[in-house]
């Protein structure tokens, strides 16, 4: 399930800015542990952000996205009180969805 995300969404002049911080290791699969064994790749592959039911951003990540991924983007529309949700899925099949209220 992973740890909760931090989602902030703020509406201003008809545009909503969304900032997301995700708790995830984003292991590249190229690092070795202390014993020299390769640490298997473990990373988010897909992410979808929605405003209500409407998809406002869809993204695909590779292993080069930093640990604890950060994402900021803007979409037209959105008002105080609306809901914005973000869902991710990783290469091990784990997934998580969190929601925030626009302010």
């Amino acid at each position: 399930m992973g740890n909760p995300m931090k989602i902030r969404a703020a509406a201003k002049d008809g545009v909503t800015e969304v900032k997301v911080l995700i708790s995830h290791e984003m292991e590249t699969g190229q690092r070795k542990d202390a014993n020299g064994a390769v640490i298997p790749a473990w990373f988010i592959t897909e992410l979808v952000a929605k405003h209500g039911d409407k998809v406002v951003l869809q993204s695909e990540f590779g292993t080069a996205v930093s640990k604890n991924p950060y994402l900021a983007f803007k979409f037209k529309g959105g008002a105080k009180g609306d809901k914005v949700s973000v869902s991710w899925k990783d290469n091990k099949g784990d997934s998580r969805t969190d929601e925030a209220v626009v302010n």
């Binding site: 998809v55 951003l57 590779g62 292993t63 080069a64 803007k74 037209k76 899925k89």
Partner: protein, 155 residues
Amino acid sequence: MNNQRRNVLKSGTGAAVLGALAAAGIIKPGVALADWNKAAFEAKSMADTLKALGAGAPVESKDVQVTGPDIAENGAVVPVGVASSIAGTTMVAILVEKNPNALAASFTLPEGTEANVQTRVKMGQTSNVYALVKAGGKFYMATKEIKVTLGGCGG
């Protein structure tokens, strides 16, 4: 991989279809979306990555921007933004030329989402960072060099 399905899913109608599927309980919302573009993410060179993205030879454009620091203190966390002022931009991607796999992330932008996305990427060394943009079926790009100081004395 099934390109046909991929294209459908990535277009606006794709979202609607997905919505219907989700509503019908066939897929979990936000989870079983488009297939991850394995070929593009696992490509090594810039050329192979562009090919896998169907981008061929993108045109350099002043209307595309890569933002980021001139120097990143730590290659593990490099803030990078891509923006495009080309009308009808539907996709933006971040590529790091000297990384083992050039493609870091790609973003599909539905109608109404601004072509301006910021994230943070890993960089193994000083490299050119590319913003790749798709608008009206054509590909454009811009580049910026970001220096990486790897610990030590920052040398």
